[in-house]
């Protein structure tokens, strides 16, 4: 009997684990083609806590607004000259690709609430796409959203002036309809890379 104990334990273990896996509905982790670089999938999704930001129309933007649809999220600052406009332009082009769900939500979160007022955010996001949402909030509320995603940033230059830059983590996050993080894509971003990754992830996990 002792001889079979490890096998019995393994089978017993599987009997406990397998139903939980099926019940949670978590599919097998998607294997992306090796040609797609810098794309990381969270299996199961990374939970995001409740948070309250303010959007570009001065309305609250909470975790509930991430639910029920897929979202692409980018963190940055509106005065960013190179990286943020590049990733925003990429997201705009991705939104127009065939096979990309039309009800996808595109969100720009500013980590620079001091300068990026809702009015400024509105000007910034609508320049790239009228449907894009801009949001920011207090440091504490931003932190709730950013921390599980691993968004880090640092202010460089004189922040008491109007002339400083923000060094920041510049990934595009893919959030699933539960409002949690399903994947992230490292920069530099291209339309082909983000578009293909998002389509494959959406098809697999929808």
């Amino acid at each position: 009997m002792k001889k079979y104990l490890p096998i019995i334990l393994v089978i017993a273990g599987l009997l406990v684990i397998l139903p939980t896996l099926f019940m949670s509905g978590e599919p097998e982790k998607l294997q992306l083609p090796t040609t797609l670089e810098g794309v990381f999938i969270d299996s199961p999704p990374m939970p995001i806590p409740e948070f309250t930001l303010t959007d570009h129309n001065n309305k609250p933007f909470t975790k509930d607004d991430l639910k029920g649809k897929w979202s692409l999220v980018f963190f940055g600052f509106a005065n960013c000259p190179d990286v943020c406009p590049t990733s925003m332009a990429v997201m705009d082009k991705v939104s127009k690709l065939e096979g990309v769900p039309k009800d996808t939500q595109y969100l720009f979160v500013s980590v620079d609430p001091k300068r990026d007022t809702p009015e400024k955010l509105k000007e910034f996001v609508s320049f790239f796409n009228e449907k894009f949402i801009g949001a920011t909030g207090s440091e504490a509320e931003l932190k709730k959203f950013e921390e599980p995603l691993g968004v880090i940033y640092d202010f460089e230059g004189d922040t008491s002036s109007d002339d400083y830059i923000v060094t920041h983590f510049a990934a595009i996050y893919i959030m699933d309809p539960t409002g949690n993080q399903r994947a992230y894509i490292l920069p530099p971003h291209s339309v082909a890379q983000v578009g293909e990754a998002y389509k494959l992830i959406y098809q697999h996990y929808k």
Binding site: C80, P81, D82, V83, T86, E123, D162, A170, A171, P187
Partner: protein, 137 residues
């Protein structure tokens, strides 16, 4: 005769200087009107047989122009000021999104799509070159 040779030499010399440094495919990414900094891109090539070191860059539409380079370290964006920009003989520097770029600071006019933006570059030897960017999305 001597004069014409001299003239010819002058013409050729000027022509050579004029094409020693070229900027091709110059463009600026159109930005929202509130943007304080814009980024310019293009291919800068040293066609001469000597190393070219840039002393200054300027544009009448901006307060300041600098060469910057974006790098990503594990997804973290960092920006460095490239000073000075040096091009070895025959070397081409590619300024592209999320890489090396011309940082165009504090515009003094609306930088709208299709606007042509001049860029003046002065080298350490004192040669002056004027390039052009086109603004597009």
């Amino acid at each position: 005769m001597r004069l014409s040779i001299l003239l010819l030499a002058l013409i050729f010399n000027t022509a050579a200087v004029a094409s020693d440094l070229v900027l091709e495919k110059g463009w600026i990414r159109a930005a929202p009107p509130m943007a304080k900094n814009l980024a310019g891109y293009g291919e800068l090539r040293n066609n001469s047989l000597e190393t070219i070191t840039l002393k200054s860059m300027s544009s009448p539409y901006f307060k300041k122009v600098e060469a910057h380079k974006t790098t990503f370290v594990n997804g973290m964006m960092k920006m460095a000021h490239i000073e000075p920009v040096v091009l070895k003989p025959g070397e081409q520097l590619i300024f592209k999104p999320s890489g090396m770029h011309f940082m165009l600071m504090k515009p003094n006019k609306a930088i709208v799509e299709n606007l042509k933006v001049p860029l003046t570059v002065i080298t350490h030897k004192g040669d002056q070159f004027v390039f052009e960017f086109i603004v597009r999305k």
